[in-house]
């Protein structure tokens, strides 16, 4: 499928070498949905922008195979707000309210991939907040981490790390 997308991309990009078409940038999600955005949005996405710069603006269709059409609108929404200078605490609170844990993690990966510093920082804070004061078991479940320590190894490690586990509330009951 990736091959298909790429050949399609190729033909698209050739047809768009006309400078007048640089008005919008087409972002193509991993599941092949095209999102047309203003060039200012692309500027917020360093990865996209550097790609455009590398090709002297001739290619305006950017495949983003790692980002799904489910996540991309969130990223675009955040970038739009950012450009408008409207990233407020209220907006961020509303924004994050819509996201479940999986979506937060996926958007984090998207922000990392696209190199959007503000979004990456914001989502890092969200993740940090969501696992704050939680037990190790909770955090493992949150990230989907499989515990590859043997019980003996873990016990030993906990003993060595008594200096950091002092005073920790084993709060494992907190629901998502």
């Amino acid at each position: 499928m990736a091959e298909e997308v790429s050949s399609q991309m190729n033909s698209l990009s050739i047809s768009e070498t006309n400078p007048s078409s640089s008005a919008t940038i087409s972002l193509v999600s991993g599941d092949d949905i095209v999102f047309k955005v203003e060039p200012t949005i692309a500027k917020e996405m360093e990865t996209v922008q550097s790609f455009i710069d590398e090709t002297d603006g001739k290619i305006t269709t950017i495949p983003l195979p790692n980002i799904s059409s489910h996540d991309l609108p969130y990223v675009i929404e955040y970038c739009e707000k950012s450009i408008a200078g409207k990233i407020t605490k209220e907006f961020e609170a509303e924004f994050v309210k819509k996201l479940n844990n999986e979506e937060v993690k996926e958007l984090f990966l998207a922000a990392n991939y696209l190199n959007i510093k503000k979004l990456l920082d914001f989502l890092s804070q969200v993740i940090a907040d969501r696992i704050a004061n939680k037990s190790v078991e909770y955090v493992r479940r949150y990230f989907g981490i499989e515990n590859d320590f043997t019980p003996e190894e873990e016990a030993k490690l906990r003993e060595e790390l008594a200096w950091t586990f002092t005073g920790v509330d084993p709060d494992d009951e907190d629901e998502n």
């Binding site: 790692n66 991939y113 190199n115 920082d121 940090a128 320590f149 920790v168």
Partner: protein
């Protein structure tokens, strides 16, 4: 959840498309070594109950652990230091990640007794990767206890020898040895002392050597004047852009001189119940204000 969500994309459009790949390195410069090769996961050891729980909270795969160290560290840098260190027990992948953390942030250490707190900080600094700079040290309220002088000195010494850029410390009383350092990397310094609690004044000395300092915030400090009757504690900070003086005093009613060509933001709050109970004159030369 698209299984393609990995962080090392290889978009397959021809030619220049590969330019995309370098950009994924993203935020941190590549001083971190690449993540160790992924190990094949051991067969599941968790009891079924745990598995069920896991699915309830987090049905997706572990997409975070596969990220590079520098991205994991970026997440950790938004956490309290104690929590960040505790991530080492999540799995073998995480065991050493915290050691490259470039921040030491303690938001609320009131739960820890003085001894335990001291123990934590000493352990943190001695076990972290010594080759990694520490960018910021933030010890938020409550105030560190008076007995912590040795600890504060140790933190400062460590911070300055590891190219610290941002320092925020609340400490009841800063002794002169706290100011025996110079730094060409320090950009912001925020110190709050409280002589109302300690009964001892904290003196902010003249002519400290912090040439890169752009932001300085001092609360409850005392300034000393030179022979000419003028206190000039900030004159050496040529890059100073923001100065906040909150409830500070100048000993013996002398002048306070603020002469900083690049100063753009100045905030001074006075408080009449200071030890001297007197106001002082301020000579201000700040053409950029």
């Amino acid at each position: 959840m698209a299984p393609s969500k990995q962080i090392t994309p290889k978009p397959k459009t021809p030619k220049k498309q590969q330019q995309l790949a370098p950009a994924k390195k993203v935020r941190a410069p590549r001083k971190q070594p690449p993540a160790p090769a992924k190990k094949v996961r051991a067969p599941r050891k968790q009891p079924p109950a745990m598995k069920a729980n896991q699915q309830q909270l987090s049905p997706g795969p572990d997409i975070i652990s596969d990220l590079s160290d520098c991205i994991l560290i970026h997440i950790l840098s938004f956490m309290d230091a104690q929590e960040a260190v505790q991530t080492c027990i999540l799995s073998k992948r995480w065991i050493n990640v915290w050691k490259k953390l470039h921040t030491l942030t303690l938001l609320d250490y009131s739960e820890l007794s003085g001894k335990l707190f001291e123990h934590f900080v000493f352990k943190f600094l001695s076990l972290r990767d010594d080759q990694t700079d520490i960018h910021s040290i933030l010890l938020h309220p409550p105030f560190l206890r008076k007995e912590c002088n040795k600890l504060v000195y140790h933190i400062l010494k460590y911070a300055f020898s590891h190219h610290v850029q941002h320092l925020l410390i609340n400490f009841i009383c800063f002794k002169p040895n706290c100011f025996s350092f110079s730094s060409s990397t320090l950009k912001s310094l925020e110190l709050t002392s409280d002589h109302l609690i300690s009964g001892v004044i904290s003196i902010f000395p003249n002519s400290l050597n912090f040439p890169a300092l752009t932001t300085l915030s001092l609360s409850y400090f005392t300034f000393f004047s030179n022979e000419d009757g003028c206190a000039e504690p900030f004159s050496t900070f040529n890059m100073l852009n923001t100065l906040i003086i909150h409830h500070c005093q100048v000993l013996h009613k002398r002048h306070l001189c603020i002469s900083n060509a690049k100063l753009e933001n100045l905030s001074i709050t006075m408080c009449y119940y200071m030890i001297s109970r007197t106001y002082f004159e301020i000579e201000l030369y700040a053409p950029s204000l």
